[in-house]
């Protein structure tokens, strides 16, 4: 029996997705990656440029990420020393007189920003349609370096993102005293902005604050907690394959008093947010996705959110995902990314 997908929605949305932190990849480093169900290779040239390519050498199929070496501005295959530049073009075959004209691998659009390396994914291979902003807290003396946390979760980008607008769950999963009531919710593809007032009971009395969440597609969001301390969390979710997502949280805290106090407060906050994610995880990992959830009057704007979500996938991809979920046999297998790009280039 062939395995049916867990979700009736497309698996791989369009957008920018983190694949690594900048400090994980020095000049000359080569790293194999697997995201979107695709084997990839990432490398940093001697000039510091990061490139991400499909992993397999078009010659004899070696994985460029396992034994490939950086030479100047290119990556050399471990098998027969074919050399590829950052655009994926083969620039040298040391033992051949002529380069085969079509000798190249697919390159992924890459940005390196906020200490994070991201790739652009689009199931049709189209170029990036929006940008990721510079985060002022990053590389800022008034703010701490990132505290990083990482999880591998059996979930879906869209299903996880739905949490942002699902205000009721904050009370029942995370034990908040009330269901939070955001005063601003803006859903404009590809972004969401949501601001919620918060009230903190402290030994010195009540402190008002706010939570400001900025979503940039399904791969990246920035949450700013203001009030007692200022903390920012960069959350990234990258689909690994049909089952799992790679989830990274990067916290930074605005320095207050001495380094020790900042660290104490920051770590406590980091732990609290991480705890919240771990409360969500068992729900996400086991839940179903209903196209028609049975909503009640106290729920957040789930229907508006679902509408916003549809923009991240082309229409045919929606249909294909639903048909595969329904177990319809005539559904064709999804094309590989490289195939899609070839067709797009040909068209």
């Amino acid at each position: 029996m062939s395995k049916r997908p867990r979700f009736p929605i497309p698996r791989y949305p369009r957008g920018w997705f983190q694949v690594a932190y900048s400090d994980e990849l020095d000049s000359g480093d080569v790293m194999p990656l697997k995201y979107f169900g695709v084997e990839m290779v990432m490398f940093r040239t001697e000039d510091g440029e990061v490139s991400v390519l499909d992993a397999f050498c078009p010659h004899m199929g070696a994985h460029l990420g396992h034994g490939g070496k950086v030479e100047g501005g290119g990556l050399v295959c471990p098998f027969h020393a074919w050399k590829f530049d950052g655009s994926g073009k083969c620039t040298e075959v040391p033992y051949a007189k002529h380069l085969p004209r079509k000798a190249n691998v697919t390159a992924w659009p890459v940005i390196e920003r906020n200490g994070i390396i991201m790739v652009w994914h689009d199931i049709e291979g189209k170029e990036p349609a929006w940008d990721i902003p510079q985060i002022p807290e990053w590389n800022n003396d008034a703010w701490t370096p990132y505290w990083k946390q990482r999880w591998k979760l059996r979930t879906h980008n869209q299903d996880m993102c739905e949490n942002v607008v699902d205000k009721a769950h904050f009370r029942y999963v995370h034990g908040m005293e009330i269901v939070p009531q955001p005063h601003t919710i803006k859903l404009e593809y590809p972004r969401i902005n949501m601001i919620t007032d918060a009230l903190y009971n402290t030994p010195r009395g009540d402190v008002t604050g706010e939570l400001d969440v900025e979503v940039h597609g399904f791969g990246f969001s920035v949450s700013r907690f203001r009030g007692i301390v200022e903390t920012t969390n960069m959350a990234s979710v990258t689909p690994i394959d049909d089952e799992y997502c790679d989830v990274r949280f990067s916290f930074t805290v605005k320095k207050i008093g001495g380094a020790e106090i900042t660290e104490g407060v920051g770590k406590a906050f980091t732990r609290e947010i991480a705890r919240q994610l771990e409360e969500d995880a068992p729900v996400w990992e086991n839940k179903a996705f209903f196209n028609q959830p049975m909503l009640c009057d106290g729920d957040g704007p789930i229907a508006d959110f679902r509408k916003w979500c549809t923009h991240f996938y082309p229409e045919w991809y929606h249909k294909q995902a639903q048909a595969e979920y329904d177990g319809l046999k005539e559904v064709s297998k999804p094309l590989t990314l490289a195939e899609r790009r070839r067709r797009l280039a040909a068209a």
Binding site: M1, Y172, N286, K287, D297, D299
Partner: protein, 324 residues
Amino acid sequence: MMPDTKTNPWAGFARGWFMLMFSEELKPGDVVPMKRFDQELVLFRTESGEPKVLDAYCPHMGAHLGHGGKIEGEGIVCPFHAWKFDGTGKCIEIPYAKRIPPKAAVACWPVMERNGMIFVWHDREKSQPDWEIPALEEWDDPEFLPWRYAKLQIKTPPLAIAENLADAGHFIPVHNTHPVPGSFSNTYTDHIGQQKIKAVAYPVHGGKDEFESTATYYGPAYQVTKMYGKGLGVIINAHTPIDDDNVMLRFGVSMKAVEGMTDELIDHFIDNMRDGYLQDVQIWENKIYLDRPILCDGDGPIGEFRRWYAQFYTPRSSAADAAE
């Protein structure tokens, strides 16, 4: 009439009572996620002690009630948004909403707890049960030793297990158990199928047991075997499909404590039981299904068994049509 042979006649899952757990595995307040009949279920016991089985997914946002759901009184509370469902599957509380959507409910499965076991009624057509699991007099007989339980996941379709009932030919090659010639018989009445046999067993752990046994299936998946040998042994075998390829088999064993019976003898009997099963399991996990097996004169009534067993796979609507 045999079902159409061009497609798998045993596709889907049978109608009847299926054991989910032994009672002692589920205490008041326990919530257990379970995949059976290729569906996600949640099994729980309320504070007053009632076992309940519901479809697993909350109709609200799809959370699995079995992963983090909590028992409150007679209901189960969803881990995601605290919607509360009673034992019939109806949503009875949403703590943050003014009104409950009238259709907010999950499907509820008929449940029966008997003989220290929890059974669920499965029917693709969602009919209500029309027979019951009979009380087992040995179950709470003080002369019987405390029951011992085991479970085993097996990669086989359920037919392979149930068909043993009619399989006279496998005793010698698989179990080194030698039936007394002419002693093997099957009778099939309504949902009950019964095998009688007299035999001499040379079990895995040595020795020689002469015994007479009656093995009775009540429906497609629950079997009680009574073995009269050195003592009276009772064996429960219940298998429940997980998906198209796997079943969960649970078995329970007890013996009548006759004078002179030592712990050693009981352990010996139970070990033989378990390992006797493992001999079958090895065959089950690797065999294929033949719609038209080549049978010989020493085989049991495989065809008769399959005709009896087919009733559990025949939709009631078409069974009624056929009777007309």
